[in-house]
Each structure stands twice: as C-alpha cells, then as structure tokens.
Symmetry: C2
Subunit: 224 residues, 2 copies
Amino acid sequence: MSKKAVVLVSGGLDSATCLAIARDMGFETYALSFDYGQRHRIELEAAKKLAKSLGAKEHKIVKLSIEELGGSALTDKNIAVPDYKDSDQIPITYVPARNTVFLSIALGWAEILGVNNIFIGISAVDYSGYPDCRPEFITAFEKLANLATKAGVEGNKFKINTPLLELSKAETILTGIKLGVDYALTISCYQADREGRACGKCDSCYFRKIGFQGANIEDPTIYK
Amino acid sequence: MSKKAVVLVSGGLDSATCLAIARDMGFETYALSFDYGQRHRIELEAAKKLAKSLGAKEHKIVKLSIEELGGSALTDKNIAVPDYKDSDQIPITYVPARNTVFLSIALGWAEILGVNNIFIGISAVDYSGYPDCRPEFITAFEKLANLATKAGVEGNKFKINTPLLELSKAETILTGIKLGVDYALTISCYQADREGRACGKCDSCYFRKIGFQGANIEDPTIYK
C-alpha cells in the first residue's frame, strides 16, 4: 500500500495538529470534513484553510443531514450550548455516535482510495468525557473496520491512528507549533459566530484556553 | 426501555420483511432510510410507501453525500452495474463501508430516541458476498455500539437484530407474505428506472427472481 492517510479534519485545534502529525510521519494526506448541521459551521471554512495550509492532497466535505435526528446542543438550535462546568456527566453537546459515523465514512473513503491508515485527533485527556473518545472505542472500531470491508477481508488491515490520545491540550499545542500549525486558523468554539469569533464559555473554549495557558503560548483566539 | 426499534428500510424486499418482523415482534418501529446518491433513488419512494403500509411510527430519510467519494457502481454513474454472474468476488456494486455507515447513523438515532433495538435486513444466504453482511460484522458492530455511546456506557445495551440472517430469499418472501408485506411496493433493482421498473439482470434482480420462484409466489416485479 502507498503511504497515504485519510485524516478527519473538523477545523479545530486537535484535528489540525493531527493533520500536521500525519504529514510529519510522511503520509500524503486526504482530509475529510462533515457538514452535519453543526451550529458552528464556520469551522468548515477553517477546515478548508487548514487542509490547504498543511498540504493535504485532497479535501472533501461530506454532507450529512443528521441534525434532523435532533438530540444534541451542537445540532439542535432549540438546545442551548451550556457554559463549561466540571462534571462527570456526558454533556448535552455530545452528538450521538458522531465519531462512529465519521470514522465509518472515513473508512469508506480509505477503502476507495486504497489507503489503510486513518487519523483522528481524539484525546482521552482534557476532553469532555464523550464515550467515543476512549481508546477501547478505537480498538473496537479497528476490529470492525477489518471485518466490514473488502480491503480488510483481503488482508489489507486498517489502522486507526490517534496520535493525540495521550496528550494534554498543552502538549498538543506544543507539538503543533513545532510542526508549523497556524492555530489562528483553527476554530474550537461550539458556537463561534460567522466571523469565527469564540464565546469563551463553552467546554471547547475552556479546554482550548487552558491549553494555551499550559503551553505558555499566546492564544490567537478572537473572542466575541 | 420502551419496546421501540429503529429499522433500516431501503425500499427493497429484505428490509420490508425486516420491518414487518419487527412489528410482529411487538416493536413500535422507527424507519430509517438514506439518500446517498444511489442510482436507484426511486427505492426511497418505495421506502416511504412501505413505512406507511407497515405502520412505522416515524420515517426519516437522512441525506448523505457519499457519492462524491466515488468507487461503487451504485453511486458512481461512470461505473456500469454489471449483470449477475456467479462468482466469489465482491462485486463492483459494493459501496465501501455502507452498512457500517448506515448502522452508525441508526445507532445515533436510537440513542436519541432512547431505543436499544436496531433491525437490519441482511442475509448471509442468497446474497452478493458483501463483507458487511456477515454475522461476525454484526457482532463487532454491537460491541462497538456499546462502547461508542452514552447509553451503552450507562448499561442500556444495544442489540442489532438480523432476523433474515439465516433465511434464503424464498424463506424471507414466505415470512413476509404471512406478515402482510405487499412486495409490489418493494424495489430491489440496482438500476430501477423512475417508474420503479427493474432491469432483470443485476445481482439484486437475480436474487429476487430466484426468491419468488423458490417460494412459488407470483413475482409482482415490473420489468423494463
């Protein structure tokens, strides 16, 4: 197999770093984003800029009308995005089965391209407690991928790469800085406005802020 | 949990039977279809009629622009649908990771609805040899589902029901007839025309034909 990888790119800080890491590892990258009715659709503009800036060979945005299924503050405009609060609960910004859906489509594209590496920028540190950001989820998906596909059945095993899994947000940022990621291009906020300005209050803003503080790097985020 | 189930309904013979079986088992059914750029989009009209005729409580059609990823005769108009041929090869009508993607979205909807039963009308008999129609794929998906979701983590285990798995096409048809499925509403052909008329030549038409012959039931299919 050629040294190519499909990389999930949301437009946020983590996936931008993940894309830079994949490139640094010598992969020709195929960036994949989703237009799934997220209220922060401006992140797709960020994803386009990042894919270009980090040398992705191709960038596809797949439309997916899951917002009509409802159930998450990220896609349902009738549910407010809450401010950050330290809690053991899975928050209302959780989009049911999102990473499963995104990885499945990435798997389909990887199979079409003849690629067996997929990158996803999830972390089990400094995150919101989503169940589909845990290592056991990734292991189970990898197993599924090799049973679900023609390529997997024929022995071209898929690998789901999660280079940020053990990194804190600060470590992620320091890694990205070394690899030339321009974090001013990234948008993390769940309710960024059309100009890409962040609320500074949601979970995602919270983790981003403490990341830049911890890394001792100037935060390029523009707030509302 | 209430006795509700999400049922994948394509508009074809198998999923119609599956929907009837779920109802017969006492489930209130939530039918889910996908508009994924399939060349036989007329099957979505069939899905609507079937959901109504078989008493589904709700029917959602999720749009999914995977056709732009290419790679399958079912979604890429530059690749012809081949005539049926007995072979060990996985055919070009295979849509990479399709059942994984469909089940993932069904999983998300099930979690939103607070439902833990999902039905999919796959069969490991009289089928085209797609890797994602095998029992080991379903087992792996079920495991993934319980790791991927808030509901699964909290102990509301998901079950992927595959009532047709061991049935031949003829047995499926006989089951459906007993349960009141009107097969004249179903469309199986991969290249049905806008009036829903079938080609009579593709894999899907082939298996449908031998099914009706084997069941000794008059075939209601209208051919081009």
